[in-house]
């Protein structure tokens, strides 16, 4: 809201109300930065294969729906999911997270990101060979919630979309 422009003075109460509005707008901007940091740190932890830390990025009641794995509800199920990634050691891959589009509404937020993975190892006749140039593009569609520990993922939907689109999981995945 603009300050009076007709020469009238604003009361102290009016000034304090304006200050509160500015503070709320600043808080939303700070939230934007915090959520971007959360998602970037999560992706860096994935890239660095720090699987044990990943459940800590989620709320207790979070739901994830990653590629073909189907929906998983709650932090314990999420921990089991990421724990299973130990069994598929993927090294030598580079990750780029870009184009965040975030909408913050108080203590909740929605966000969409583009993700790229650049791979450098392929498998030929059971042996790993170094092949440059392979990439995948994916999309994150997430919800975030502010907790006493800061912003956390409350929902994470992820699919690879190019060059070949992931099929939906057998259970259809999570549709919220």
């Amino acid at each position: 809201m603009l300050a009076p422009t007709d020469g009238r003075r604003r009361t102290r109460a009016g000034q304090l109300a304006e200050l509160a509005r500015i503070e709320a707008r600043l808080r939303d901007l700070e939230s934007l930065t915090e959520i971007e940091d959360l998602h970037r740190e999560f992706t860096r932890a994935v890239a660095d294969r720090e699987f044990a830390t990943l459940p800590g990025y989620f709320t207790d009641d979070a739901v994830i729906d990653m590629r073909r794995h189907g929906a998983m509800h709650g932090r314990d199920a999420i921990a089991r999911h990421f724990g299973g990634m130990h069994a598929v050691p993927l090294t030598g891959a580079g990750y780029v997270l870009s184009s965040p589009i975030l909408d913050v509404t108080g203590d909740t937020a929605a966000g969409e990101w583009t993700w790229h993975r650049f791979l450098a190892d392929g498998t030929v006749a059971g042996k790993s060979v170094r092949v440059w140039g392979l990439w995948e593009e994916g999309r994150y569609r997430c919800s975030y919630r502010r907790t006493q520990y800061g912003w956390r993922f409350s929902r994470m939907h992820f699919r690879v979309v190019r060059p070949d689109h992931d099929d939906d999981p057998p259970d259809g995945g999570e549709h919220t």
Binding site: A3, R9, R10, R12, Q15, E18, L19, I22, R25, L26, L29, L32, V96, S98, S99, P100, I101, L102, E112, T114, H116, V131, W132, G133, L134, W135, E136, E137, V161, R162, P163, D164
Partner: protein, 174 residues
Amino acid sequence: MTDDELEAQLVTLRARVQTLEDVEAIKKLHRTYIRRLADRQWHDMVDMFTADAVADLRQHGPRHGHAEIAELFASMRAAGNPPDGYVLSSPVIDVDADLATGTWTWHRHLCEFPVMGSVLRVFGPWWEGRYRCTYRREDGQWKFATMVFRLVAPDCEPEPASAPEAVTSDAGAH
């Protein structure tokens, strides 16, 4: 702090917050544009430009206004739907009231090429490009006022032979 001092500080604070919000809104506009481009969602893209916008993309030459820009997008749609990956990065945005300028880096990763009547998948080729844009706020909404886009690597793109004019950042004020 006197009432006058507080009022002056409020005016300054409000302007600073507004600038930060504008930068975020412009980033959102450009990122949405690229995501629609990647997903070939052409139908909503023209509305992201002002009615008098100028789009000067690669060898196509400057296109003025919604009708010419829509025509350009229609020709891009007709060129097919390659499964290419797009990365938009390094925004530098400067806001001045209802006008703004922005420079971005863009990468496109290509992987399908027509060979002898069929399509071969070959990973590796990529392009780097630069967006130099001006943005204008209209009815509270940020839109593209001018958009210049050129490839810069691995080979720098020559200026289009038919380019009759240079699109500069001043165009955003028109």
